[in-house]
């Protein structure tokens, strides 16, 4: 388990240390069970609580190996040019329910905030992989999760359009800070100027969806991402559970 030493502010969110392993956003646990929407974005929902575009928060947290933190949205004014804000206004939710970054970035403010405060390590987390390859396919792409050894991390080899991105990330221990800096300043595919930047942004989303929400720490992840790839990432993580292919490994090192 890794938390943060002190409360910090990212852009549009506030992070509080937690004594319990797990991440919450506006009071909802960041787990597959609470994923309510997964296509062009990921929303968490439980009862009447809903948070929008959570991948922009979970991605940088996973890149830093932060596994225990309580996240609260801090936006207090409307930006109706954002469809998520219009959704919130339609159902009488406040703008703080939208935790996605206004420029479509994986919240570089969270990255900077975590860099400014030391992560605090607790009990070693169980490392999780798949016992056999799991392939998820939909109308425009596919994603395959393959087994890996404890400590290998999430080894991504994915394409988006004409771009290919290969990178290894450890969602329980953190990742090279220069690599994180490049990822969190890459904008979402809908706004990205080219496939290369979109593919770099996608790494944050893959960490969010497969590492944090899916609960996997060690995998080889290969595939072709389409323009609503959260259906592929969450779909692959769910399929692994459905077919009983989730495998816990021995705990990682302190």
């Amino acid at each position: 388990m890794r938390t943060i030493a002190d409360p910090v502010e990212g852009e549009v969110v506030r992070l509080e240390p937690s004594d319990d392993d797990g991440i919450t956003i506006n009071g909802v646990a960041a787990t597959l069970e609470n994923v309510d929407k997964a296509d062009v974005r990921v929303d968490l929902a439980r009862a009447d609580r809903r948070s929008f575009v959570v991948e922009h928060v979970l991605g940088p947290l996973g890149l830093h190996g932060i596994t225990a933190v309580d996240v609260t949205g801090t936006v207090d004014s409307w930006s109706f040019d954002r469809p998520e804000h219009r959704f919130c206004y339609s159902v009488d939710l406040g703008p703080h329910h939208v935790v996605g970054h206004p420029a479509g970035l994986p919240n570089p403010g969270i990255h900077e905030a975590i860099e400014s405060t030391k992560p605090v390590a607790g009990d070693p987390a169980k490392r999780v992989t798949v016992s056999e390859p799991v392939r998820f396919e939909d109308d425009a792409g596919h994603l395959t999760l393959r087994p890996a050894d404890p400590g290998d991390g999430l080894q991504f080899d994915v394409t988006f359009g004409d771009a290919r991105k290969r990178l290894a990330v450890d969602p329980l221990e953190g990742t090279d800070t220069d690599a994180i800096a490049e990822i969190v300043t890459s904008t979402t595919p809908f706004l990205a100027p080219d496939d290369a930047e979109a593919a770099t942004h996608a790494i944050a989303d893959l960490v969010s969806d497969i590492g944090v929400l899916g609960g996997f720490s060690d995998l080889v992840v290969e595939g072709e991402l389409n323009d609503h790839y959260h259906s592929q990432t969450i779909g692959a993580a769910r399929k692994a559970r459905e077919v009983g292919a989730v495998a816990e490994l021995s705990p990682g090192p302190d």
């Binding site: 930006s79 219009r86 339609s90 009488d92 206004p102 706004l191």
Partner: protein, 290 residues
């Protein structure tokens, strides 16, 4: 022709449903209207390759859905125009591409008057052209992050105050440009006037809201039923705003909700849209608590 009912049958069935609904108005627990139905007729559409085709195709498709959905159900169809004295709650069919709406953008009018005098006719024409170009440039949507200049689907601009050119006149030696303004809950008079005023202080700007935006508050039962029906049938229960005033804003009160397949202005409505839309509609009507 597949599953689409013939246009003439839709109109006849809608009239019958509306008349019988009027007779049992006091007992119906849901009032149903179709935006645009007051101005569309069977002659406006034709059936072609299992689709309605023509300028009113989308509205006609939604009318066909509403008519079928109220059949033998505790709901009253209002055709062609709503009986505005009905108490609701209201379910309004709109071109929402299977999203749900409780908010409708309003409308306003803005005018920008600029002096375009000149000593010669040539100079007056030049100044007029410069004035018009300058005003239109200032009226274009802008954003630091989003491609609003190419946002044909309204992903971003639907929530922005935008200006649609309605006319240019040249009374005396002035140019007067008139815009229709989309008015959102965040539209601010000062901001509108600042946006159109230009940097030289040589323009007179007026702005008037003609139809304010509307924010409905449907009962939780109707909302939950609509959300469940959308989640079950189309896999997503998403909310979006209606882009301009329709019968939705004319209906008094807050207990109303809009649903419906198709996009605004679509000139084709397929059998698949009809089937899916009908499942969502009946799921919404049937899913309300007793």
């Amino acid at each position: 022709m597949g599953t689409l009912p013939p246009p003439a049958e839709v109109v006849e069935a809608a009239r019958d449903a509306s008349e019988s609904g009027t007779r049992f108005a006091d007992s119906a627990t849901l009032d149903v209207a179709v935006a645009g139905a007051e101005s569309v007729d069977a002659g406006d559409v034709r059936c072609e390759d299992d689709a309605y085709v023509g300028p009113g195709a989308g509205t006609f498709g939604r009318l066909a859905i509403a008519t079928a959905a109220v059949d033998d159900r505790d709901a009253r169809l209002h055709y062609q125009a709503p009986d505005y004295t009905a108490s609701g709650p209201w379910l309004v069919f709109e071109p929402l591409a299977h999203r749900i709406a409780t908010v409708q953008v309003g409308r306003g009018t803005a005018t920008v008057a600029v002096d375009a005098a000149g000593r010669t006719a040539h100079r007056r024409i030049e100044r007029a052209r410069e004035a018009i170009d300058s005003v239109l440039s200032d009226a274009r949507p802008r954003h630091d992050h989003y491609p609003v200049h190419a946002d044909e689907d309204g992903v971003f601009v639907r929530g922005m105050t935008t200006f649609e050119l309605k006319g240019v006149e040249s009374p005396d030696d002035r140019i007067v440009v008139t815009f229709s303004v989309s008015v959102t809950p965040a539209t601010n008079r000062d901001a509108v006037e600042r946006a159109l005023a230009g940097g030289n202080g040589d323009r007179d700007v007026t702005f008037e809201v003609t139809r304010p935006p509307v924010r409905a508050a449907p009962g939780t039962g109707l909302r939950a039923a609509a959300e469940d029906a959308h989640q079950t049938v189309v896999g997503d229960a998403a909310y979006e705003w209606l882009p301009e005033p329709t019968v939705f804003s004319a209906i008094a009160g807050h207990d109303k909700l809009a649903i419906g397949p198709g996009a605004p202005g679509a000139e084709e409505f397929t059998a698949e849209q009809y089937e899916t839309g009908l499942r969502v509609a009946t799921g919404t009507i049937d899913g309300r608590p007793a």
